[in-house]
């Protein structure tokens, strides 16, 4: 790998670690020039947009790669056969999965650790980490499992095996911890928690997890449990586990990125839907009707600039809707597409197999 690239990587790692000698603005332009040079598909797109390192003056002008392109191309700035890891999207809705290749997971891991610690462990607590996901070993292509492995570290215990949530084992473990007055961090997808709560309700169980317990929940039901609004789900944490709703934090991450974003709830001490953006990233909310950044309080499509994506695509256009806030952004979920009206049809309702 070339020296410039390794230098870039070190500079991003320094920024993630809190260095104040690096600025996002300068690094973003350097990284854009690097990615423009090393990823042919991206370069062609930038040239088509007439946005090149010669013409782009600040980070907001850097062309965004649509998440869908990760399905059509190996979007890397290194020879893809040298990848040490690849994460796949679940790809449930549109054919083949998107793939994110990694030259190293060093950047990903550093970014994941810092953000998690800041938003889930602002009190510096060291807690048992119970993950309602498969372990990274069992799911090597899942970015979520990898992330859980990284942020939970040695304390990690995983409660999904062969696609099955080990409800009895989890119940047992929670009993032990409650008995030992040991606060805990629970991590999992929304649908795994819903399934667990359904089980708990059915068995007439109720936990009262010790004070200081908290949970990280990441969105998306994908038809794998009944769906429910966020507030309703968080009320169930209180009801079944005794974890107050404001101590449940939503995580927003995606396979195509290296950085995750979290509700600020534990930082501000109350339930909040606003996600803050770390120093090495920027998030814009783009109004799809104008192509311009939405005003504060307005909704649009979330666009992420993630410097930790050194070896892939730094600027990613997601398909998720969000609201722009003064201090961050709020996620509304996947754009629903054109509403079916009357006698016409769209892709969903034609249900092409």
């Amino acid at each position: 790998m070339n020296v410039d690239a390794l230098d870039l990587q070190q500079r991003v790692i320094a920024l993630i670690a809190g260095s104040t000698t690096e600025t996002f603005e300068r690094l973003a332009l350097d990284l854009f020039a690097f990615q423009f040079e090393h990823c042919a598909a991206y370069r062609a797109y930038c040239e088509h947009q007439q946005r090149t390192p010669g013409t782009v003056e600040d980070w907001t002008q850097i062309p965004a790669t649509p998440t869908g392109a990760f399905k059509d191309f190996a979007l890397t700035c290194f020879p893809v056969e040298q990848a040490v890891a690849e994460f796949h999207t679940s790809g449930t809705t549109r054919g083949q999965p998107g793939k994110h290749y990694f030259a190293t997971t060093e950047l990903y891991d550093a970014a994941a650790r810092v953000s998690f610690r800041e938003h889930l462990l602002p009190d510096g607590a060291r807690l048992p980490m119970l993950a309602l996901t498969p372990s990274p070993r069992d799911a090597p292509h899942s970015s979520l499992s990898h992330m859980m492995g990284v942020v939970a570290g040695d304390e990690a215990e995983f409660f999904v095996e062969r696609d099955t949530l080990l409800v009895d084992r989890l119940t047992q473990r929670l009993c032990e911890l409650q008995w030992a007055s040991q606060p805990v961090t629970l991590l999992g997808t929304a649908f795994a928690f819903v399934n667990f709560f359904d089980h708990v309700a059915q068995k007439n169980l109720r936990f009262e997890m010790p004070e200081g317990s908290r949970a990280m929940e990441t969105g998306g039901f994908k038809g794998r449990s009944r769906e429910m609004p966020k507030r309703e789900l968080y009320a169930l944490f209180e009801k079944h586990l005794g974890i107050p709703a404001f101590r449940v934090v939503n995580e927003y991450g995606m396979t195509e990125l290296s950085t995750q974003f979290y509700d600020e709830s534990l930082l501000v001490g109350r339930a909040s839907d606003i996600k803050r953006v770390p120093a090495w990233a920027r998030v814009q909310v783009i109004d799809p009707n104008t192509g311009r950044e939405a005003a504060i309080g307005e909704a649009g499509l979330i666009r992420v600039f993630d410097l930790a994506n050194v070896w892939s695509m730094m600027c990613v256009q997601t398909e998720d809707l969000g609201v722009r806030h003064e201090t961050g952004f709020e996620v509304r979920g996947r754009a629903a597409g054109a509403e079916v009206r009357g006698c016409s049809l769209n892709a969903e309702s034609l249900s092409l197999s």
Binding site: Y45, H48, P288, A299, A338, G342, L350
Partner: protein, 440 residues
């Protein structure tokens, strides 16, 4: 405002009384006369109805004022004396069978429309709503109309304009709206229906079919898509602009919300001009149409979907030669907002439904046979196939399409202009609703 149970009951009673009082004594010619005069009033220069529709409809329907204007022209220009007469004569043999016993062969026969028709309208395009109500009046029926919350404007203004011409006739129609979730209200509306005409998604149609009285006639118009085929002999330098204009009209009208709107243009290869050339010409024609008739405002979700599709294809197109994208703003720097139209060229024959709102695919094809293969699995859901050029070879192709269950084949440019007497989804509009009485 949701209608109440009492309002529905009252509307049924009122329209049925009006029918007894009025329609039983009105000749079908007089009814045609009133409908035609109403249509003329809409089409007249400085028509107050047009002014009001243009003022009120954009807000609820999402169409631009220019699109509302276009819709008025498309709808009311079909309601002529000749067209209405032809519709009746074609379907019933002779329009006068609705007035009196007429000699048919060796016996006399007379046709009676349902005493009460309940219409369930869709809000995506206004034309079927107006036609549905007009048919109910021609059959001398009382009409209870459940409007769509997406378009309460056109039906209301139509009845108001009819009232100005013939208030007694207008009394035979009651317009109401209530939520789909109010099952009891829907049941109340259906309880005494002799016929039901329903437009909407398949689940709505089948639910209504279940709820309708067993002996009521039921015409359900479910979800459909359309596409078009451009034959290799159809395109040359000379006629390309006109062909593209016709295609852009079909794809842009009603912002592609209707079942007659093409999603895909299959273009035969090895003609004088290739499919890419067609796509390019279609793009300029879409831009020109947008300048004249702007696409309506989109919801955030709709705009996001159009943007997603365009961005995805545009990214691919830079390195993948099988794909190309044209979209507003056009390279010429038109003033249209981003993505007010998108043309996607994709060398992949599979039929892909568009996300609507003027997003259209152009796909090269090896010939008509390949098109049949490509649309096989969606054939049951296809309303209309536009063809350029309608020649002998195209008619043979039409026969194949008919065998697949497709009901309408027409020239490109005419997809959005079905004649009043067309067989919507392969069916008659009036004949299915009448019952016959023979004498002698």
């Amino acid at each position: 405002m949701s209608a109440t149970f009492e309002q529905i009951q009252d509307a049924i009673t009122r329209t049925r009384e009006a029918r007894e009082r009025v329609l039983q004594h009105r000749t079908v010619d007089a009814i045609i006369g009133a409908l035609v005069q109403t249509a003329k009033n809409w089409l007249a220069p400085d028509s107050p109805w047009r002014t009001r529709a243009v003022e009120l409809a954009p807000e609820v329907t999402g169409f631009s004022p220019q699109m509302v204007n276009e819709a008025i022209d498309l709808m009311f220009s079909t309601l002529t004396y000749e067209a209405l007469g032809e519709l009746l004569d074609r379907e019933l043999g002779n329009r006068r069978v609705l007035d009196e016993f007429c000699l048919r062969g060796r016996s006399y026969t007379r046709a009676f429309g349902p005493r009460l028709i309940v219409h369930f309208l869709a809000g995506n395009v206004p034309a079927p709503s107006i036609v549905s109500i007009a048919c109910g009046l021609l059959l001398k029926s009382a009409n209870l109309v459940k409007m769509s919350s997406h378009d309460p404007v056109f039906p209301a203004l139509f009845i108001e304009s009819l009232r100005e011409v013939d208030s007694e006739l207008a009394d035979c129609v009651a317009l109401l709206d209530w939520s789909r979730d109010e099952l009891a209200l829907t049941q109340a509306a259906l309880a005494e229906a002799q016929a039901v005409i329903a437009y909407g998604d398949d689940s709505t149609i089948s639910a209504l079919r279940q709820l309708a009285p067993g002996d009521a006639k039921f015409l359900g118009y479910g979800h459909k898509v359309s596409f078009a085929v451009v034959a290799k002999e159809a395109m040359n330098e000379e006629n390309l602009p006109a062909l593209a204009e016709a295609a852009a009209f079909d794809a842009s009208v009603y912002d592609q919300q209707g079942c007659l709107s093409p999603h895909v243009f299959y273009v035969e290869e090895r003609g004088q001009l290739g499919p890419r050339k067609f796509a390019e010409a279609l793009a300029s024609a879409m831009a020109a149409y947008q300048e004249r008739v702007a696409r309506g405002a989109l919801t955030l979700d709709e705009a996001a979907e159009v943007g997603r599709l365009r961005l995805g294809y545009e990214f691919r197109a830079q390195t993948d030669r099988r794909v190309a994208v044209w979209a507003s703003p056009a390279p010429s720097g038109a003033s249209a907002p981003p993505n007010s139209w998108v043309v996607i060229y994709e060398d992949d024959p599979s039929f892909v439904p568009s996300c609507l709102n003027r997003v259209v695919y152009v796909k090269p094809t090896d010939g008509f046979k390949r098109v049949l293969d490509a649309v096989q699995r969606v054939a049951a859901k296809v309303s209309t196939v536009g063809i350029a050029l309608m020649n002998e070879r195209a008619m043979a192709f039409a026969t194949e399409l008919a065998k697949m269950g497709i009901h309408r084949i027409c020239p490109v440019g005419q997809m959005q202009r079905p004649p009043l007497s067309w067989h919507h989804d392969g069916r008659t509009n009036l004949a299915d609703l009448v019952h016959w009485v023979d004498a002698g």
